[in-house]
C-alpha cells in the first residue's frame, strides 16, 4: 500500500530507535497506516543512509531522539531528522522533549513534525508526514513561518552555553532557552550578553515554546 501527499508517493517508513523492542512496536503504527515498516538496526553512517534513501525513493522516516546510549548511532535524533529534511526526505522526530528542548531547538528549523511517543498513532503519523511534505514543497503552516523580530537577552548560562531570551513579538513574559551553538559565525558567543538586543527570524506564530526556532541572527 502507499500514501500520496502533495503528489509525493510514500511506500515505506524507516524506523530509527536504539531499542529493538521500541522499533518493533512502532512497526504496528506504520503497518496500520498501510505502509511498509523498515527497522534500522544501526545508524553509523548518516550520509550513506541519506544517499540510500534518496536512491530508493518513496521513503519517510520516524526517529527517536536518544540514539547514543549504546553504539547505535553517531548522531542524536534531532541531527538525523534535520539532515534528512534538508535532503528532502520527510521525517518525524518522535520523543518526549521536556528535558532536551535546547538540543532539539538547535535543529528545530528543520524539524517540522515532532510527536510525543504516547501520541504516535496512524492518524498523527499521517498528519506529521503531511506537515513535513507540505513544508518541503514550500507550504508552511502559520506556526512554522518565521518573521524578523526582536530578541532581548535576559540571562546567559555560560556553563551550559545557553542564553535565556525574551521574544516580545511572541510572548513578552515567557523566557525561552536558546543554545549558544545556534548562533551564526558572524555573531560571536561573547556578544550574547545580558540586556543586549538582537534581531532574528523566529516563527512567532508558534503555539508553544518547544516549537520555536531561530534563524538569520543580527546584532541589534
Amino acid at each position: 500500500m502507499t500514501l500520496t501527499i502533495a503528489n509525493r508517493l510514500i511506500e515505506s517508513v524507516q524506523i530509527i530507535d536504539d531499542d529493538p523492542n521500541v522499533r518493533e512496536s512502532y512497526r504496528y503504527v506504520v503497518e496500520d497506516l498501510k505502509l511498509k515498516p523498515v527497522s534500522i538496526n544501526a545508524l553509523h553512517n548518516l550520509d550513506q543512509f541519506v544517499q540510500s534513501l534518496q536512491m530508493s525513493g518513496n521513503s519517510a522516516v520516524i526517529c527517536d531522539y536518544h540514539l547514543r546510549t549504546k553504539n547505535y548511532a553517531t548522531s542524536n535524533g534531532a541531527e538525523v531528522v534535520a539532515k534528512l529534511y534538508q535532503s528532502n526526505i520527510p521525517s518525524i522526530l518522535c520523543t518526549r522533549y521536556d528535558t532536551t528542548i535546547e538540543e532539539i531547538r538547535e535543529h528545530r528549523q528543520y524539524i517540522p513534525a515532532l510527536i510525543r511517543p504516547e501520541e504516535l498513532d496512524p492518524d498523527n503519523l499521517e498528519y506529521g508526514l503531511r506537515q513535513c511534505i507540505e513544508e518541503l514543497e514550500g507550504n508552511y503552516l502559520p506556526s512554522r513561518r518565521s518573521w524578523r523580530t526582536l530578541i532581548d537577552v535576559e540571562d546567559v548560562d555560560e556553563t551550559r552555553q545557553i542564553a535565556y531570551v525574551l521574544i516580545p513579538g511572541w510572548d513578552p513574559h515567557q523566557v525561552v532557552s536558546v543554545p549558544l551553538a545556534i548562533l551564526p559565525p558572524h555573531i560571536k558567543k561573547q556578544e550574547i550578553k545580558k540586556q543586549r538586543w538582537f534581531h532574528a527570524k523566529v516563527n512567532i506564530g508558534a503555539e508553544n515554546m518547544a516549537e520555536l526556532y531561530f534563524e538569520r541572527w543580527e546584532i541589534g
Binding site: V29, H66, T69, V175, Q195
Partner: protein, 690 residues
C-alpha cells in the same frame, strides 16, 4: 532673478521652563541634589565641606554649603558655574590634589540650586584671596521672562569676608527635608569619599545634624580586623584579573591568576575600566565573639548601615550601589542558591574602586547609577566571578575540615572511652560494677543516637541516589518499556476494533482501556521525576506562583485521580511573582501535596484547597485538606527532619518546605485543624509584584 531673500538671523532659544525640566524633574530627591554640590567642592580640591540645614523641617528653610576649596574667579563663575550642559571639568586632568574630577554636566548642580527660591553664591579664589565674588539668583525673575538669557545676573566684587573657598546659600526651600531624607543624606555624605580608605588628602564632607554625628562615629569604628577573611581582586587596563584571599591576620589563604579565575569564560579579558575590589567577610556567630573587644550586636549594627558592596568612581561613591536594599552583585540571591561559604550584604562590607578615566562607564543623567553598558556589566561580572571562585575555594577547605574533624572526633571518642574504662578499673571495687553499668548504659544510648543520625544521613543519601538513578536511566527504564506497551496495546485496540467489530467491545475493550490507563499512570512517575530534575527549573528568574502550582497539579493529575482526590484552587485575581527558581516553589507545593495525600488516606471524601491572597507585598499561600489533621505529633516537631507518623515516611518533606521558605525570606506555619477539618499550612512569601 534670485528667488531667495535674506530676512533675519534666528537661534534656538530656551524658555525658562527648561530650568524646571532639567532641574526639579531630574532631581529624584534632595540628597541627590545636595550631593552634586558637595561633589563640586571635591572637584575644587576642598578638604572640608560643611552642609548646614537651617529650619529645613518645614518648607521655606535654607541650606548652606561651605567648602575650603580653590574658589572661583569671574571667568570660572561665568563660563563654568553658570554654563549648563557642558562640563568644564576634564576627567583626564587631575586636580592639584591628584583627584579625578567627578565630571558632572552641571545638571545636578542646577537641580540643587532650584531647590529654593533664591541662591546666594560667595566665592574667594585661592589664587587671589584678596577678592571675593558674589552672585545672587532670584528664580522668580525667570517666571516672567520669555527666555533664559533674558534674565541678567550680576557678579559683584567685594572685600573678602570668607577664606578661600565657596559658600552657597539656598533659601526659601520649596519643601521640607524630612528626618528620613536627613538620614539618607548623612549616610551618603559619610560614604561619599571612601571613609574606609586611608587617603591623607581625604575629602571630609560634614553635615551639621545629629544623624550625621551618629553615622560618623559608627563609620569610624572600622571593624575590618574582625573580618574572618578578606578578598582583594584587581582588574588591570587590559581586563586581566588576579585575586587574593587572606585571613584576619593577613596570612594568604588562596590566590589565583586570570586563567584560573576565568576558566568559565574561556580566559576572556573583562571589558571594563581598571578596578580594585576589596571585600571583608564576617562570620556572625555569637560564640566567636566572646573573646573579642566588640560585641556581635555592634558589628551587626555597623554592617546593617554600611554592609554591601559600594562602588567608587574615581574616588567618589556612586549611588545606589551598596545602598541599603541594593544588592547589585546579587550576593544574597546567590547565597540562597548555595548557602555554604557565601557572604551576604549583611555579613560583609566591600568596595569596588574604578578608575574611569576613559569614561567607559557612563552615569545616567538623573544620577540613579551607571548606564548598564558592556563595561558596567563586565565590571559586575568580574566581581561576581571572583566571589564565585572564593566560595568554591572556601567550600573545598570546609569539606577538608569536615573530613579532618570526623577523623579527629573518632580518635578522641575512642581515647575518651579508654580513659573512662581506666578510671573505672581504678575505682574502689564496691562502686566498680555500678559505674560500669552506668557507663555501659550511657554508651548504649549514645550509640543509639549516633545510629539514628547515621540513618538520617543515609536516608538523605539514598533519596539523592534515587533521584540521580531516575534521571540517568529514565530513558531506558521507564521510557522505552512504556513506549513498547503503549504502542502494542494501541495496536491491539485498533486491530481488535477492525477485526472483531462488535465482539471487541464485548470482550477486549475493558481490559485494553485498563492497560492504557495504567500505562499512563506509570509514565507519569518517570515524567514527574524528570520534570523535577530539569536543570531549567533551578535557574533564577521571575517565577509566577500560580503557574508553578498549575504545573505541579497537572503533573500530579493521574495520581490525584487515582486516589480520588479533588483539588480546588482559589487564586487571587492578580498574578503574584517573585525572583527565585521554579524548583524552589515546586518543592514547597509538591511536598505539601504529598503530605496531604498521605493525610487523606482512608478519608471518606478527599479534598484539598490551594488558596492564594496578597497582603503587604507578600503572597499568602494556604494549603488545606480534610484529612485527619496534625495528631500524634507535637505541631512544632513536624518541621524537624526524620519526624514522621508513618512507618515508611522519610520525615523530610516538611523540613524541606520550612528550609525552602526560610531561604526565600518567607514564613511558614501549620494549623492542626483547619476549616476543612484537616491540617492547614500557611506560607507567606515576599513577592516582586502581582
Amino acid at each position: 532673478m534670485n528667488d531667495t531673500e535674506f530676512l533675519a538671523n534666528a537661534h534656538i532659544r530656551f524658555s525658562p521652563t527648561i530650568l524646571q525640566r532639567l532641574g526639579e524633574e531630574l532631581n529624584p530627591s534632595p540628597d541627590v541634589g545636595i550631593l552634586e554640590l558637595v561633589k563640586n567642592a571635591y572637584d575644587a580640591d576642598a578638604i572640608n565641606c560643611t552642609i548646614e540645614l537651617i529650619n529645613t523641617n518645614q518648607s521655606g528653610g535654607a541650606i548652606l554649603i561651605k567648602d575650603d576649596g580653590d574658589g572661583m574667579d569671574v571667568e570660572a563663575i561665568r563660563d563654568k558655574w553658570l554654563l549648563l550642559g557642558e562640563s568644564g571639568k576634564s576627567v583626564s586632568h587631575m586636580t592639584k590634589l591628584g583627584r579625578t574630577p567627578a565630571g558632572s554636566k552641571g545638571l545636578g548642580r542646577l537641580a540643587a540650586l532650584r531647590m529654593g527660591n533664591e541662591v546666594a553664591l560667595s566665592t574667594c579664589p585661592k589664587c587671589d584671596s584678596t577678592k571675593q565674588y558674589n552672585l545672587y539668583i532670584d528664580w522668580s525673575n525667570y517666571e516672567n521672562a520669555k527666555t533664559v538669557e533674558e534674565v541678567n545676573l550680576v557678579i559683584q566684587e567685594r572685600s573678602p569676608q570668607i577664606e578661600h573657598g565657596t559658600e552657597i546659600l539656598l533659601q526659601g526651600l520649596h519643601s521640607a527635608i524630612g528626618r528620613m531624607d536627613v538620614k539618607k543624606l548623612a549616610r551618603k555624605l559619610i560614604l561619599l569619599a571612601d571613609p574606609f580608605g586611608d587617603n591623607p588628602h581625604g575629602f571630609k564632607p560634614h553635615l551639621i545634624a545629629p544623624e550625621f554625628a551618629e553615622f560618623e562615629s559608627l563609620v569610624q569604628n572600622r571593624y575590618f580586623e574582625d573580618a574572618e577573611y578578606y578578598l582583594t581582586v584587581e582588574v588591570n587596563k587590559q581586563g586581566y584579573i588576579k585575586a587574593l584571599v587572606t585571613d584576619h591576620r593577613g596570612g594568604e589563604l588562596f590566590s589565583a591568576n586570570h586563567e584560573e579565575l576565568t576558566k568559565k569564560r574561556g580566559g576572556k579579558p573583562y571589558n571594563c575600566p581598571p578596578a580594585k575590589f576589596d571585600l571583608w567577610v564576617f562570620i556572625l556567630k555569637s560564640d566567636s565573639f566572646s573573646t573579642r573587644k566588640i560585641t556581635l550586636a555592634e558589628l551587626q549594627r555597623w554592617l546593617k548601615e554600611f554592609g554591601g558592596v559600594h562602588l567608587y568612581e574615581n574616588g567618589l561613591r556612586v549611588s545606589p550601589y551598596g545602598d541599603q536594599g541594593n544588592d547589585w552583585l546579587e550576593m544574597n540571591i546567590r547565597r540562597v542558591q548555595s548557602p555554604e561559604e557565601r557572604p551576604a550584604t549583611n555579613s560583609s562590607l566591600g568596595r569596588i574602586s574604578v578608575l574611569n578615566i576613559n569614561q567607559q562607564l557612563l552615569q545616567k543623567t538623573d544620577r540613579s547609577g551607571f548606564i548598564e553598558n558592556e563595561a558596567f556589566l563586565d565590571l559586575k561580572l568580574f566581581a561576581q566571578d571572583a566571589m564565585d571562585w572564593m566560595a568554591k575555594k572556601r567550600l573545598q577547605v570546609a569539606e577538608e575540615r569536615r573530613q579532618k574533624k570526623r577523623d579527629e572526633n573518632q580518635k578522641k571518642s575512642s581515647q575518651s572511652k579508654k580513659n573512662i574504662e581506666q578510671v573505672i578499673a581504678h575505682a574502689p571495687a564496691s562502686v566498680q560494677v555500678e559505674l560500669k553499668q552506668a557507663f555501659d548504659s550511657y554508651e548504649h544510648s549514645r550509640n543509639k543516637e549516633i545510629e539514628q543520625l547515621q540513618q538520617e544521613l543515609q536516608l538523605y543519601r539514598t533519596l539523592s541516589t534515587a533521584g540521580i538513578t531516575a534521571a540517568t536511566f529514565a530513558h531506558e527504564s521507564s521510557g522505552n518499556p512504556i513506549k513498547v506497551i503503549t504502542q502494542s496495546i494501541k495496536a491491539i485496540e485498533r486491530r481488535g476494533k477492525e477485526l472483531l467489530a462488535e465482539q471487541y467491545y464485548q470482550v477486549l475493550e475493558n481490559p485494553v482501556s485498563q492497560i492504557i490507563k495504567a500505562v499512563h499512570s506509570l509514565g507519569v512517575l518517570g515524567e514527574a521525576t524528570l520534570k523535577l530534575l530539569n536543570h531549567e527549573k533551578r535557574r533564577l528568574g521571575r517565577v509566577e506562583i500560580h503557574e508553578v502550582i498549575k504545573g505541579v497539579l497537572a503533573t500530579f493529575q493521574p495520581f490525584l485521580e487515582g486516589r480520588e482526590v479533588s483539588v480546588v484552587t482559589e487564586f487571587c485575581p492578580s498574578n503574584p511573582y517573585l525572583r527565585g527558581s521554579e524548583a524552589t516553589i515546586e518543592s514547597i507545593i509538591t511536598n505539601l501535596i504529598n503530605n496531604s495525600l498521605i493525610a487523606l488516606e482512608g478519608a471518606l471524601s478527599r479534598n484539598i484547597i490551594i488558596r492564594t491572597t496578597i497582603e503587604n507585598n507578600k503572597v499568602i499561600l494556604q494549603l488545606l485538606d480534610n484529612g485527619h489533621g496534625i495528631q500524634e505529633i507535637n505541631i512544632e516537631d513536624i518541621w524537624l527532619p526524620g519526624q514522621t507518623t508513618r512507618p515508611n515516611g522519610t520525615g523530610l518533606g516538611l523540613t524541606i518546605v520550612r528550609d525552602t521558605v526560610t531561604d526565600l525570606n518567607g514564613e511558614v506555619k501549620a494549623i492542626a485543624k483547619s476549616e476543612l477539618g484537616g491540617a492547614e499550612f500557611i506560607i507567606k512569601l515576599p513577592i516582586l509584584g502581582s
